[in-house]
């Protein structure tokens, strides 16, 4: 609220003054009619984001994680006529994983090496750009990537590869505050798009490959002061601590590198966690290894754990459960669904954390039984061996960080999926701070060739795959669904594709000239709908001709 107060401070008194000063009246009118178009992003606006579908104000479009746009100007009828509207070259090389935000005609996004920028969303023309000088000895796992920003008030928030959290002025890109969350030399980094909730910026750490002790932090958006931290590996005396052997908890991993969701009705943040460390060796960390590969329900104000659900116990395959958890309401049932990296699609009661169903949605060989709660459990043959043997899915998972979508109109859950098996091998490895800590490795298995990539539409009520589209090769693109009856996704060959959400039939495509590692989003400016996605080194915006 600060910026509003400054610009329009005392506009009631300004009205009274306006009788005397026409200019003041002009400013007051500006406050009334012009500024609201560029008003602050209040928590209330984020909470009610579905009421302003022209804007895309959080990583997944709203707090529920649905990545569904209520815009329908681009629809089944006219999608085949779509055309590129603008392209913004970021100047970065490597993978772009960012989802842009759009607020009141301005697009905010990130690129490799902690670049952040603001563009005129109608034209793609840059307004400001920020680039961090990151140290040369950072410890990213998988490229110098970033998945996006959060916005609140007059600031955007960025988690950096050297494990800082920073606030940038949304109008200039100037650094407002910059705090160190953890030591990057020990393997901590941020690649996640933070989530702004109330007056807090919530963010989860990366570094499962380096044996960090994972955490989720919340910072005061105004000051950068840390308000709470939840360690995803319980310390001495805390519940769950006994699920780790000896001192293994100290380097237990369980990072939290993808964006969670928020349920205002219970004031809970749902945040997913990643693999225990070392990822490919269970020996030395006997036990379930809580809260690795889990969905956590945290009190948003204090970061206290209300419940957890662990998808893969004592994981030895790097099957992070960091996929976006999607809140779905069905009648009086309040559910949360996740298409997990381990190959199963889970539906959970989000009031209690109790599992409702778990159904395979891709090729899996690691589990052929369920426990009394219905949770798939690993068979004996699944564990990696010294010499290595084949398990499906592979370490990249049936899905990974690519954002899914849920369309309330078709009641289908859309997810990018892959059928690939890997040879998993294991070996003892001593922990060394800041050094990769895998406990051996995995390789693509020839047995599973060719590796197949799909866009799949899952019915959450049954877990059944209603339709699938097979890509030429597996893709890392996320998915967007829109009220126009469309689903959008990209492929590894550089195409951006519009599908019929009901049938999976491709209706339109555009060759962007670079592989897609990002998820699409939609927005509108001046009454015109756009769909945007990052590919290659650029951001693309498409619309009707």
């Amino acid at each position: 609220m600060k910026g509003w107060t400054l610009r329009c401070f005392g506009w009631r008194s300004a009205f009274s003054a306006a009788r005397r000063f026409p200019l003041t009246l002009f400013i007051a009118l500006q406050c009334l009619f012009i500024l609201p178009a560029h008003a602050q992003v209040t928590f209330n606006r984020l909470l009610n984001s579905t009421k302003e579908p022209q804007n895309w104000m959080t990583y997944s479009g709203d707090y529920s994680g649905k990545r569904f746009s209520a815009l329908d100007q681009i629809n089944l009828k006219n999608a085949p006529t779509m055309a590129a509207k603008w392209v913004y070259q970021t100047g970065a090389t490597g993978k772009l994983e960012t989802t842009p935000l759009v607020v009141d005609g301005i697009l905010y996004a990130t690129a490799q090496d902690d670049r952040a920028f603001a563009l005129d969303a109608r034209t793609g023309r840059p307004i400001w750009m920020y680039q961090r000088q990151i140290p040369t000895d950072i410890r990213p796992c998988c490229g110098h990537v970033n998945r996006g920003l959060a916005i609140l008030g007059d600031k955007v928030f960025l988690g950096t590869l050297d494990a800082h959290v920073i606030a940038l002025d949304a109008k200039t890109g100037n650094v407002v505050w910059d705090v160190v969350a953890a030591d990057y030399r020990a393997g901590h980094s941020f690649t996640v798009a933070p989530l702004a909730v109330k007056n807090l910026v919530v963010i989860g750490v990366s570094g499962g490959e380096y044996g960090v002790r994972g955490f989720i932090d919340a910072y005061d958006a105004e000051t950068g002061v840390r308000k709470w931290r939840f360690y995803t590996v319980p310390g001495t005396g805390e519940p769950g601590h006994d699920t780790w052997e000896g001192d293994s908890w100290k380097v237990g991993g369980a990072p939290a590198w993808n964006t969670g969701t928020y349920d205002a009705s219970t004031n809970q943040i749902f945040w997913p966690t990643g693999n225990p460390a070392p990822s490919n060796r269970g020996e030395g960390r006997a036990g379930d290894n809580l809260y690795s590969n889990s969905l956590l329900a945290l009190n948003a104000d204090i970061g206290k754990l209300n419940w957890y659900f662990q998808f893969t116990r004592h994981d030895e395959h790097d099957w992070d459960a960091t996929q976006v958890p999607v809140m779905i309401d069905s009648g009086d049932k309040h559910l949360i669904a996740q298409a997990n990296r381990n190959g199963f699609f889970y539906v959970i009661d989000r009031s209690t954390g109790k599992l409702i169903s778990a159904t395979a949605y891709g090729k899996t060989t690691w589990s052929d039984a369920k426990d009394s709660e219905g949770r798939p459990v690993a068979n004996k043959e699944a564990s990696p061996t010294l010499e290595g043997h084949t398990v499906c899915p592979g370490a990249l998972g049936t899905t990974n960080f690519m954002a899914p979508a849920y369309d309330p109109q078709t009641s289908l859950f859309y997810v990018t999926a892959r059928d690939q098996c890997d040879i998993f091998s294991t070996a003892p490895q001593p922990y060394e701070a800041g050094h990769a800590y895998y406990g051996s490795a995995y390789f693509p298995s020839e047995e599973g060739r060719p590796y197949l990539g799909f866009l799949k539409a899952i019915d959450p009520a049954t877990g059944e795959v209603k339709w699938k589209f097979q890509h030429t090769s597996p893709t890392w693109s996320g998915v967007l669904s829109t009220a126009g009856g469309l689903v959008f996704s990209g492929d590894a060959e550089g195409n951006f594709i519009a599908f019929d959400a009901s049938s999976g039939k491709p209706l339109w495509h555009f060759q962007m000239g670079g592989a897609v590692y990002a998820a699409p989003m939609a927005f509108a400016v001046d009454g015109k709908e756009y769909v945007a996605i990052a590919a290659g080194s650029a951001i693309y915006a498409f619309g009707l001709p």
């Binding site: 990213p140 490229g143 490959e209």
Partner: protein, 276 residues
């Protein structure tokens, strides 16, 4: 003063390390435990390109060959792993965006491991390279589809470097059983070019049949080289049919077509070119 002495120590250590790196001797040479540790390091850092067991992958040479193109001594190998090879896909240690790379000790472990895997073979192939060249460009018809040093056909892979990166056994097997190890294109972030030499048959809307190999493909289009080296740029939705096969377009050369001796001669030719 304190700062200065720290600096001196650092410089001294750096010199010490450099001296160690330049050392022609692998301090862990022949150490079975180091080789085992090196095997795991190899899996994490090298196997994606060089294959499990160092037997060559989609992109990297087979390192079980005793004769290597870019390295001879352990010190050469240390240098190559540390700094990469300019002009090739071999990256410098720690530059793949996945952490800070290996320690010196780990590099020596990997070298120890690679040495333990080498298959001792004579530096010179047994066959007659000159006769092999005649066969390659003549009766064996290899050059109809394969190029060596700029001469030959285009339908199959260029074989100029193959003799320098694959073992004798792999070369023989590729001729006797061409479909067994059809190249798998690299995918994901390491994807450079997806060509896998898959055989393809397309029938156009007008009924024309096109047989060849795929140069590239996505969900909507395909680029094909036919058996006459003509390039066809096709949109999939305009084709009557489109079928791919992982049976190689190369005929199987059995011993009845190409004797063991003649095959040895061709391998000797390719090895002599690959060693250049």
């Amino acid at each position: 003063m304190l700062k200065l002495s720290y600096a001196a120590v650092i410089v001294f250590l750096a010199l010490d390390l450099a001296a160690c790196a330049a050392d022609d001797r692998n301090p862990l040479a022949g150490d079975a435990k180091a080789a085992k540790a090196g095997e795991y390091e190899f899996r994490i850092n090298c196997a994606l390109c060089h294959g499990l067991g160092a037997r060559g992958g989609g992109r990297g040479p087979d390192l079980t060959r005793a004769v290597k193109k870019h390295t001879h001594s352990d010190a050469d190998m240390f240098q190559v792993i540390s700094n990469g090879i300019a002009g090739t896909a071999m990256p410098a240690n720690g530059t793949n965006g996945q952490g800070v790379g290996m320690t010196d000790e780990e590099i020596w472990q990997i070298i120890t491991y690679i040495r333990s895997q080498e298959v001792k073979a004579p530096a010179q192939a047994a066959g007659n390279a000159a006769h092999g060249k005649d066969l390659f460009y003549g009766d064996a018809n290899c050059s109809l589809c394969h190029m060596v040093e700029g001469k030959g056909g285009r339908l199959g892979p260029d074989l100029t470097g193959v003799g320098g990166s694959r073992t004798h056994e792999a070369l023989v097997d590729s001729v006797r059983n061409p479909s067994r190890r059809l190249a798998w294109g690299l995918t994901e972030s390491t994807k450079e070019f997806p060509q896998e030499y898959e055989s393809v048959t397309a029938i156009t809307a007008g009924g024309k049949e096109i047989k060849g190999v795929t140069l590239n493909e996505d969900s909507f289009s395909v680029q094909i080289m036919d058996v006459n080296e003509q390039i066809h740029l096709l949109e999939k939705d305009k084709l009557r049919s489109f079928q791919k096969s992982r049976a190689s377009a190369m005929p199987k050369y059995g011993a009845d077509v190409l004797s063991d001796k003649d095959l040895e001669d061709i391998v000797a030719y390719l090895t002599s070119v690959g060693a250049k």
